[in-house]
Amino acid sequence: MKVALFVPCYVDQFYPQVGIASLQLLEKLGVKAEFPAAQTCCGQPLANSGCEKDALPIYRHYVDTFSDYDYVVAPSGSCVYHVRKHFDKLEQTPAVQQVRTSAYDLIDFITTVLGVTEIPGTFPHRVGLHLSCHGQRGLHQANESEITPVRDGQLRRLLGSLNGIELTELDRNDECCGFGGTFCVSEAAISARMGQDRVADHERNGTTVLTGGDMSCLMHLEGIVRRRQLPMRVLHAAEILNGTLS
């Protein structure tokens, strides 16, 4: 099994520890992933801004970089969703089809492809889960509250297997955090308010460690947590599952 790690552009530059944790976690689970040095970005920021045409060269570059792999794993449901769904704009060559079907979110890869249901480890903290919309509604990693009241999902199950962990139950389990890519800047006022409300829900319900599968939502929420100087740590789920921090 030839696996590549795709480290999203902002994770590469600002959250290298998330890339490192992803790599090490995969290794612990018996997968040696490569990091192709030519990788840059999936092109989502441009496409979400209405500039899909300008993103096409980035899509092609992504395909050139990753089409030789059986799986391309990324610690970000949002980028994976973008590759799977919006690379339909390219001519559907075998290489393009390969990267679209091989793209996997890290947590999805661990549970679906590797079939792992439990992670050995201890994390004695009260952990609040931020379900990212693209992971949950786009990739169906957890049930949507619009469709069903069942509040389960891949990440919740994996985290739940850690010793000593306590998962918080939120007032609004799967409300969007308000990041939304360029939305966080073009609609800054609403974006900030949504993030503040999201953080407040975690605060109210006793979260001391805020986590999720998508670093982009967490970057936005972390920005709010730190501005408000709250005693809450924000970690990508890979960091917790890898046991880098306990």
Binding site: P16, D54, H86, C133, C184
Partner: protein, 457 residues
């Protein structure tokens, strides 16, 4: 003014925003409870979606069938290509009866066509009879929600409005007292009305009848008291058979308010003895939308408002921030069809979280259409030039691993070494208005990875 500017104004009142958000979330939660209780709800959604797809694919046939059946029932049928024709037809019918007093039961189509100002300027008194509609009519405002038009107002606002217009005591906020005042005020209008205008929730091709769903019973009261009933409907309101109706009535109220069914589901098929019934069938841009394959499904909308209640952006920005008759996610895909320039910011007033699509009772792919509208607007140069320019630059940067590495390093070092007051200056870094920037790490992931490779080699 774009959506972001209007939204920033609304969210500036933090307490009101909290109240607005919580009120609508309460409705969404009520909807969930009602929906979870129906095990076949997802099958109903699928069925409704298919019925609407089918109807839209043969819309011409069903419209003709509807017209023929309605005429056979003794109903007058009128066709209006646009808002102006719709308004002219209705004014003409009213004038033919030498009428001056009209009551109306909520119709978003007449709002869309701006019928009220047209009638008023022609000397016709037109009174909206739904409580929420009447409140905003007195305040000279537009509805801020499809189903709850005055949801942006608190009881104190209503008390103030009724004090000014209906003579209630100053500072009166008791809902019972205010409702009673409205009831007495409206009763006089109902009794005096010569013509009643209503909207249409569903038009049944097989029977030629129209169905209106209300919770206040005001459509019935208006129609049964007045001599003439005018029903205004968009061409997309059709369903093929009466037996299809149950699918939609089960979905509509549950999705809208969490009720099993609306209090009144009124069927109007033919005029009562000695009375007249007219149906105005309106296009006003709908065939244009029907001709756009990417956006055709938006015509399946049954106007339940569930996408608004669930939308985290709508709940915090209020309906008026959309500046369109139909606000929220569905409005943001309907409005650019009517005026792309004016409404160019609306498809961007979303995080694309997808909750709107999941909650939609007829399975409209709302967030996918929002994404597609963004591309149409980008191609038509209806997005800010600065955005277009920076995205082009980013496109170049992100196709070159080398340029990307250098650019990233510059950004990291910028945040690290420039003074906080500069990196977090709110007038050119809006991110920093409410959020801290990430702490820049010593090295990027790719630098770390390279270092590892070098050490092991």
């Amino acid at each position: 003014m774009n959506h972001a500017t209007r939204a920033a104004k609304f969210v500036g009142d933090a307490d009101r925003t909290t109240w607005h958000d919580e009120t609508l979330w309460f409705v969404r939660a009520k909807r969930d409870k009602a929906v979870y209780a129906v095990p076949e709800f997802q099958d109903l959604r699928e069925l409704a979606s298919q019925i609407k797809d089918h109807t839209l694919s043969k819309l011409d046939t069903y419209l003709e069938q509807f017209e023929e059946q309605a005429k056979r029932n003794g109903v007058h049928i009128h066709w209006a290509a646009d808002a102006a024709e719709h308004n002219a037809i209705i004014l003409d019918i009213i004038r033919q009866h030498n009428a001056t007093r009209v009551v109306k039961s909520k119709s978003m189509l007449t709002e869309e066509c701006h019928l009220n100002p047209h009638l008023l300027s022609n000397g016709i008194e037109v009174v909206d009879t739904d409580l929420g509609e009447r409140i905003i009519q007195l305040r000279d405002e537009a509805p801020s929600h499809l189903v709850l038009p005055a949801i942006h107002l608190k009881k104190e606002d209503v008390g103030e409005t009724f004090f000014k217009h209906l003579g209630t005591a100053k500072g009166e906020v008791d809902p019972q007292v205010l409702t009673e005042a409205a009831r007495q005020h409206l009763r006089a209008r109902f009794l005096a009305a010569e013509v009643a205008i209503s909207g249409v929730n569903f038009a049944v091709a097989e029977t030629g009848g129209v169905v209106v769903c209300t919770n206040e019973g005001n459509a019935d009261l208006g129609v049964n008291l007045a001599h003439v009933h005018i029903a205004a409907m968009g061409i997309e309101k059709l369903i093929p058979r009466l037996s299809d109706l149950a699918v939609f009535t089960r979905l509509l109220a549950r999705s809208a308010t969490g009720q099993p069914v609306t209090t009144y589901t009124s069927h109007y098929t033919k005029p009562a003895a000695g009375k007249e019934m007219h149906i105005v069938i309106v296009d006003n841009g709908r065939t244009k939308q029907l001709g756009r394959p990417d956006f055709r499904a938006s015509l399946k909308c049954i106007r339940c408002g569930a996408c608004m209640n669930t939308c985290p952006v709508y709940r915090r920005s209020g309906g008026h921030s959309y500046d369109f008759t139909v606000p929220g996610p569905i409005g943001a895909i309907l409005s650019p069809n009517i005026d792309m320039k004016k409404h160019s910011s609306l498809p961007f007033a979303s995080t694309l979280c997808g909750s709107c699509s999941d909650v939609c009772p007829v399975k409209i792919d709302i967030h996918t259409q929002l994404y597609k509208w963004r591309q149409v607007l980008g191609e038509a140069n209806e997005i800010p030039a600065s955005k277009k320019w920076s995205m082009k630059l980013m496109g170049r940067l992100l196709t070159s691993p080398k340029a990307f590495g250098v650019g990233g390093k510059l950004a990291r070092h910028g945040i690290k070494y420039l003074p906080y007051s500069l990196t977090h200056a709110r007038h050119f870094n809006v991110w920093a208005v409410a959020r801290e920037l990430p702490t820049p790490p010593k090295q990027s992931f790719r630098e770390w990875y390279q270092q590892q490779a070098n050490t092991t080699a």
